[in-house]
């Protein structure tokens, strides 16, 4: 393959000079003629544009129903305007504070406990010298990432059930089995811990790759100067990871309002709702299950806006501190 490319290359550079002379300047062509000659390129774009228009732009227009009393018969345009009524009724509902703080807490705990783990993992993996051993450890650490959310939730229910293995291990220390899944106090711990178990290994890939690009001479020089292992990890490896950390951190903050609600919904039981109800599960239940379309759309829009604001704020703060930005 490589050879072919190179051959092609040599030939084409010769030809290129000819092309330059023979090619008529583009600007003189009419627009119609341009379209006619390049219609294939536009044809290539057409399916993607249509699909994005239908499934991304039409829903954006549909957000209008957040400000209306939508009913199917009257359609989006025909329904009556209600202004900010749905937002007001959400913000003043007794559930609001609970749901909002559940959302924030769940993702903040996830971030505080979950963010450092992949970094530490990468630093630890970086100290394993034998490539074959390192590869095998990585193979195992990445594996849970490929388990589906449903299976993960199923495993959690199995392991934490009153007759399950975790209670069997804890039995000597407790009075009777703990019903983990029906106690809101345990929900956040379960959610965050299982998230780390599933995702930390895979998230470390980026950091491992960044470390593998570190100049080994830095380490040699530091060692000659008498730096200990921990000092080298802190002053060299950790510094290498900083820019990557900044970008991932901004992204994580931007995603705070979108906590893995698909997992939260699966882990929800009637008993743990005081801790497990987050904005998106609420939108799903009120909007889709109960058919309260406008209210659901309004709550969803509220969520999106808070997420965007958080993204912009974090980006600005990190830029000031670090000089790294997302956009």
């Amino acid at each position: 393959m490589r050879d072919e490319i190179e051959k092609f290359d040599v030939q084409s550079t010769k030809v290129k000079e000819l092309v330059k002379e023979s090619k008529p300047p583009k600007k003189n062509k009419g627009k119609l003629k341009y379209l006619k000659e390049n219609y294939t390129l536009y044809l290539f774009l057409l399916p993607a544009i249509i699909l994005v228009f239908i499934f991304n732009y039409m829903p954006m227009y549909g957000v209008l129903i957040a400000f209306k009393d939508y009913n199917v018969a009257q359609g989006i345009l025909g329904s009556d305007w209600v202004g900010l009524d749905h937002f007001r009724s959400f913000l003043s509902s007794p559930n609001f504070l609970l749901i909002f703080s559940n959302t924030i807490k769940l993702s903040l705990y996830g971030l505080i406990f979950g963010f450092p783990v992949p970094i530490i993992l990468a630093l630890m993996l970086n100290q394993i010298r034998r490539t074959s051993i390192k590869k095998n450890i990585q193979l195992i650490l990445y594996a849970p990432h490929f388990i589906s959310t449903v299976v993960l939730a199923g495993m959690i229910f199995i392991f934490l059930s009153p007759a399950g293995p975790v209670n069997a291990i804890l039995a000597p220390f407790t009075n009777g089995p703990i019903s983990f899944m029906s106690n809101p106090d345990h929900f956040r711990t379960i959610f965050v811990t299982s998230g780390i178990w599933q995702g930390a290994g895979f998230s470390s890939i980026v950091y491992v790759a960044a470390l593998s690009n570190t100049d080994p001479q830095l380490h040699d020089a530091a060692t000659i100067d008498g730096a200990s292992l921990l000092q080298r990890i802190w002053h060299i490896d950790f510094q290498v990871l900083k820019p990557v950390m900044a970008v991932l951190f901004i992204l994580a903050i931007g995603g705070i309002m979108g906590v893995g609600f698909e997992k939260a919904y699966l882990l929800q039981t009637d008993m743990n709702i005081p801790a497990s109800e987050v904005i998106d599960t609420y939108v799903y239940k009120r909007g889709l299950l109960a058919g309260d379309w406008s209210f659901g759309a309004a709550v969803g829009l509220f969520n999106t806006i808070i997420g965007l604001i958080l993204l912009v704020i974090t980006n600005t703060v990190v830029k000031k501190l670090n000089g790294e930005t997302l956009y």
Binding site: K16, L45, P59, V63, D220, L230, E262, V283
Partner: protein, 297 residues
């Protein structure tokens, strides 16, 4: 590397390296023990696993869970439905994403800038769950496979990745082919595609696995049980605790039914996760590559 090895001989450093190995081994155990437990539980009766641990008594071992899964249709049908949805989604997604990425990689494409802005805007803003649902419903896609295949099939980030990749290919290749009279279509098929196999493979892999493992869209768009993908069937068994009656109805005693249902949970986890778990080591380097191209700006 070798030099690095020589200089690590202070006592404190060696202690830290040892500690590092011990902690990593523990972490590997934490990952692997729950997985092994589920696999064992699918062959051993789970209640025995909890009360007596790993029993070597052959009477306790059984393939009953698996036999029941394959006798009852739901999981098998879900498996093939998922295969169809994930396969079609991947095909649609990869084809249209790569085509769009190619056109946008042409530097002097008239209107290219506007089209990119059109895509980028859709990446940062979205209508949300309810308006999207209403669009899908108004198109009559609810309760059809299209509801899982079309929405979200155009990964905008992937279009940008492809565009960047195509821009990196030597322009002379295209120019030369054009002199030889090749059309845009011909250039794309015979020159660009063969050079882009790795990036296409990575995009396809992530699209397939994402769709295979997802349940949420299926849950909101599909009512018809015969259309259920594997993850929805699993959700009934594992989360809602509703093991299909066909799998356990022959058991008369309630306790026995309960015991069987418990075992079927373990077996269905294994059956549904096995394909990915077996394939994944072979694709590991592609996953790493995928994460890396995804993280580069």
């Amino acid at each position: 590397m070798a030099a690095n090895h020589l200089i690590n001989n202070s006592k404190a450093d060696r202690f830290i390296l040892l500690l590092n190995k011990i902690i990593l081994s523990l972490l590997v155990l934490i990952i692997i023990v729950p997985l092994i437990y589920v696999v064992l539980g699918s062959f051993l009766q789970p209640s025995i696993l909890v009360t007596r641990g790993l029993s070597l008594n052959p009477d306790h071992w059984t393939l009953d869970g698996y036999i029941r899964i394959f006798q009852d249709g739901s999981i098998v049908r879900g498996f093939f439905n998922s295969l169809f949805y994930a396969g079609s989604f991947t095909l649609v997604s990869v084809t249209f994403t790569v085509l769009a990425g190619y056109s946008l990689s042409i530097k002097d494409l008239v209107g290219g800038k506007a089209i990119i802005i059109f895509f980028l805007f859709a990446m940062f803003f979205n209508g949300g769950m309810i308006p999207t649902y209403l669009v899908v419903r108004s198109l009559g896609l609810v309760n059809t496979p299209w509801a899982l295949i079309l929405p979200g099939s155009i990964g905008i980030w992937n279009i940008i990745l492809c565009r960047t990749f195509f821009r990196g290919l030597p322009n002379e290749l295209k120019e030369a082919a054009r002199i030889d009279g090749a059309s845009d279509f011909r250039i794309f098929i015979s020159i660009i595609l063969p050079l882009s196999k790795p990036i296409i493979f990575v995009i396809a892999l992530f699209a397939f696995i994402g769709q295979w493992n997802s349940y949420f869209n299926a849950m909101i768009y599909l009512d018809d049980r015969s259309l259920y993908p594997l993850q929805l069937v699993l959700r009934e068994i594992l989360v809602q605790n509703e093991v299909p009656q066909g799998m356990i109805a022959d058991q008369l005693a309630r306790a026995e039914m309960q015991r069987m249902a418990e075992m079927i949970k373990y077996s269905s986890i294994v059956v549904s996760s096995l394909p990915l778990m077996v394939m994944y080591p072979f694709f590991q380097k592609y996953f790493e590559k995928g994460v890396m191209v995804g993280s580069l700006k």
